[in-house]
Symmetry: C2
Subunit: 408 residues, 2 copies
């Protein structure tokens, strides 16, 4: 059963060593938006020539900064760019005041840096519906500009945390034509995690040379198999934002390079899985694999029904190999299923075989398997070649405790 | 915050006094299907001329007894009928053995009562995927037949309980043409509650005279605004069954009578709300009203998104007036919404007014309201005339505790 711990039991041993990415610098500061005694605002500055791509929540109540980013992201430019992020307040459902806050902050960053305002991207994360104290953020901008460092990305990762119990970073180096291209990314996210198109706050940087359209297409494709395949609690944020910046500092063109794509996929998947590993109250990391579905889309519907089922997530918290609840989730998902062709595995243990309990299955084997921290549930529909994999965590007392008094 | 209590704090003060319905008798017995020291099987016998209607889960992994009931329910007959229900095992995902168990039980009831096997309806509720020990049930049939009483409905309500903390009953009397028509119903249900077409196990009896098609049409219509408008945990059972039996013993024809329809609606709504009041771990009963949506269907999508959101349900458990999470749920639901036309009330307190926090709203008012046991969340979309009301409960530590070790 889960409990509130200082750091998630599923956290990586340490924040990874992230490489310096040519063309980008970082700073973090204490603006006092909501939290006291910790950094809560970060500014990343990107060199001229940087190409920006992004994906964003499809929530119909998305926040003012998300709407502003969406309006700007398609505009190509050889000017530099800035990303300013605050935690403690999401500036969501704040009406005209929220739009005004974004305009004031982006204007102040533009004035302080000499960048066009159209190249200043912002994100806000935290409580919904409270006016953003933008003056406090604006007051920190000069400090953020004057303390930029090339290796400040770890501090930036910490400044964007809310209920996160650890900062999240991932990196990859890929050799293309004998030259290294670097990728480094950071993310925050722990609850309200059921991304729809994008997710949470994620910022990824690379020194690759790539056209903006190619960068955007690659990011959108890879989001579908990484951030759009995780869920903590089925709730979708109003602030989900993923920005990818390619500075070009490596001098290496990667436009359609499969090795670069694979490396970027790896960084995105690593960050997405770290969000699950920091799922509010999580004590188990669960991989849900669905095969044999009528289509890939059907497979994902089944996989998400399993991953979002409170009854499955609580059973796993209790280390109960309750495979009947997997049958229930597949039955309710709405996607095609035939009870008598359905098989289910816990890890390598076949528990249900084509419509009934595997006669050789021993409950003790399932119970022993459930004691692990990293679990795989696999369901085969026996209908076709559709497949999907999603990742989630269990539902514990910790989730209740965190969310019953988050605002208080 | 919730805790496991012997009886839900939201339970009615007492089981209602249910009237004798002419033409139906009941008995309950201890068959030892799973539980020890309590009744776990009930048999209702219905007089010749009884009309039967039913609605059932649309789960694609629905149980063998559900499939059997669905095959039989459309067949009109002037023979009597029987309803046999066991708790402790749902006979779901039990393959050919499950079908065989249903055939053996219905044949045994037919032999013991002289009814056609096509008029013997069964339900099973409890763990999924375990073979049903049908021999234990069959061994109890003679006792069940020989101990039938006209006033045994309360005992029947207790025999069908699983994780329920109280038996559920409701009744209505309606005068038609100066003569009384009686309705009495019982239900079980506490978790895995997100009915899709029907719900849980519900049995309603009336002495009205009515054609089978009219009875079925009325039942289906009313299910959409009662049992299909409740949710505890968004998980849909493999066993949901609602049977309605009209014995005709009153001699009063009710085919299209609006007073009868209204009375039946009241009984169904009462039973549906009792299921929510016994939601696993529930400490608050929540009415979610959505108005001003583009359509009634959109209103229900929004209302269910609010009612199923773990973040809203945990906030309510913690008595936190976190209306930003209501904004989030409407944003993610997929139905039409315009952030700047959205207003939200807690009870009569306007917390958000057309896209932003109501300037007159005081957090303390919201916090005081949340201390109540019966809460109403209302959202107006400002788009059209679509409306829907659904009912749910909060998500507490009690739900986690109950479901992390239900099978153990």
């Amino acid at each position: 059963m889960g409990k509130i711990t200082a750091v998630s039991p599923l956290a990586p041993a340490a924040f990874p060593g992230l490489p310096v990415i040519g063309g980008v610098t970082f700073a973090a500061a204490q603006a006092g938006v909501k939290y006291a005694g910790r950094t809560d605002v970060m500014l990343a500055l990107l060199a001229p020539g940087t190409k920006m791509a992004g994906v964003f929540t499809r929530s119909k109540t998305r926040s003012a900064p998300v709407l502003d980013c969406q309006a700007k992201i398609g505009g190509d430019s050889d000017a530099g760019a800035a990303i300013l992020v605050n935690s403690g307040n999401s500036n969501a459902f704040t009406g005209r005041n929220g739009v005004d806050s974004v305009a004031r902050i982006t204007a102040a960053v533009a004035a302080a840096t000499g960048l066009p305002q159209a190249r200043v991207f912002t994100s806000s994360t935290g409580v919904i519906g409270e006016p953003l104290p933008h003056d406090r953020i604006i007051a920190a901008i000069a400090t953020l500009r004057d303390t930029q460092t090339a290796d400040g990305i770890a501090g930036a990762a910490r400044a964007i945390m809310t209920t996160d119990t650890f900062p999240k970073g991932a990196t990859a180096t890929v050799m293309i034509g004998g030259k290294p291209v670097q990728i480094a990314g950071i993310a925050k996210g722990s609850g309200m995690i059921a991304p729809d198109m994008a997710t949470m706050l994620v910022y990824i940087f690379t020194d690759a040379v790539i056209a903006r359209d190619a960068l955007q297409a690659m990011l959108s494709d890879l989001t579908d198999v990484t951030f759009n395949c995780i869920t903590v609690d089925s709730d979708t944020s109003t602030s989900d934002t993923l920005l990818l910046a390619a500075t070009g500092a490596s001098g290496v063109r990667v436009d359609d390079d499969p090795a670069f794509r694979e490396a970027l996929h790896g960084v995105m998947l690593d960050l997405a899985q770290q969000v699950v590993r920091d799922g509010e109250g999580a004590s188990k990391f669960i991989t849900v694999q669905v095969t044999g579905a009528a289509s890939d889309a059907d497979a994902k519907v089944h996989a998400m029904a399993i991953a979002n089922s409170p009854l499955i997530k609580t059973a796993i918290a209790g280390e109960d190999p309750n495979w009947g609840r997997v049958v229930m989730a597949i039955g309710k998902s709405g996607a095609a299923a035939d009870r008598d062709r359905l098989s289910i595995w816990f890890g390598d243990i076949l528990v249900a075989d084509q419509g009934w309990r595997n006669p050789a299955y021993r409950e003790q084997d399932g119970a022993d398997y459930m004691k692990g921290e990293y679990l795989t549930i696999r369901a085969d529909l026996g209908l076709g070649a559709g497949a999907a994999t999603v990742w989630t965590c269990d539902l514990t007392h910790g989730y209740i405790a965190i969310n019953a008094d988050y605002r208080s």
